[in-house]
Symmetry: C2
Subunit: 162 residues, 2 copies
């Protein structure tokens, strides 16, 4: 027969690009199209518009619609509540991100500090040694040819842990 085999394709689209007209977005979000128009009138969501004025919802819009759906249907919030909750969640998200970043940096700083102290301790020892009576340590250093003030590449065993 002359039937074409259907090829499975997939289109990649930016999540913020308006691609769904209202009937499609409504179906994806499992809502009445009129409800979407109402949400827009209340400022809850702002779909793009085609040059002809047709609303165009992005994937991000659809996800937001589903979140709203969840809040109103399952938790029973009204739209004022949804608005407030969305704002608060965003704020919380930001705080959490900052917290994580700061924790990471803090841990890193601790590591660097430990390494630095170790380095200084060694260089201190190295600088003092030459004037002492000879010990094996001195001999090893001298054999290296490293002047004491140079950075000594040391393999630290403590940063392997993270």
């Amino acid at each position: 027969m002359g039937m074409r085999r259907r090829t499975a394709t997939r289109v990649t689209v930016s999540v913020d690009r308006g691609v769904f007209m209202i009937s499609v977005a409504a179906e994806l979000a499992e809502m009445h199209p009129q409800t979407l128009r109402m949400y827009e009138a209340r400022g809850l969501i702002e779909p793009k518009r085609s040059p002809k004025g047709t609303r165009l919802y992005s994937q991000a819009d659809v996800e937001k619609l589903r979140r709203i759906q969840e809040m109103t249907n399952e938790l029973g919030l009204n739209l004022a509540g949804v608005e407030r909750v969305l704002a608060l969640e965003e704020e919380l998200e930001r705080a959490t991100r900052r917290l994580e970043a700061l924790e990471r940096r803090s841990a890193q700083m601790r590591e660097e500090m430990a390494a630095e102290m170790e380095r200084v301790r060694r260089s201190l020892k190295a600088e003092l040694v030459p004037y002492r009576h000879s010990t094996e340590i001195v001999r090893v250093r001298r054999a290296d040819g490293d002047p004491p003030s140079r950075r000594i590449p040391v393999e630290r065993d403590d940063d392997r842990s993270s």
Copy 2:
């Protein structure tokens, strides 16, 4: 005349202690007493009870009632929204507190580290000087300021921008 002069007194009470009966609490929160009973039935607030079963509202309860009042009357939230918002605000509060604490500790750590490095530098100098005749190495150091190994890693504050 025999009129007693009225003495202004002030009683200090823990903010969590139940002290106001429902009519007083309602007046303080500018709400209908029945509304307070309704909020309790929905789990929004939990006043203490006297042994006889009379509700006793604390100062903290009254403040919470005013916050609820604000959310429902001024922002138009329903009670489901109020509940969710209260929970989120508490979470946000916790995150903010942790953030502040971590920032304080981080700054303190930076300071301590700088002080420590300074101490090490001094002790290094003190230990080196008695032993050394003046040598070129020492002089180079002095002219240079810090040898490369004594760089203090400084924490950057760049995530404040986001």
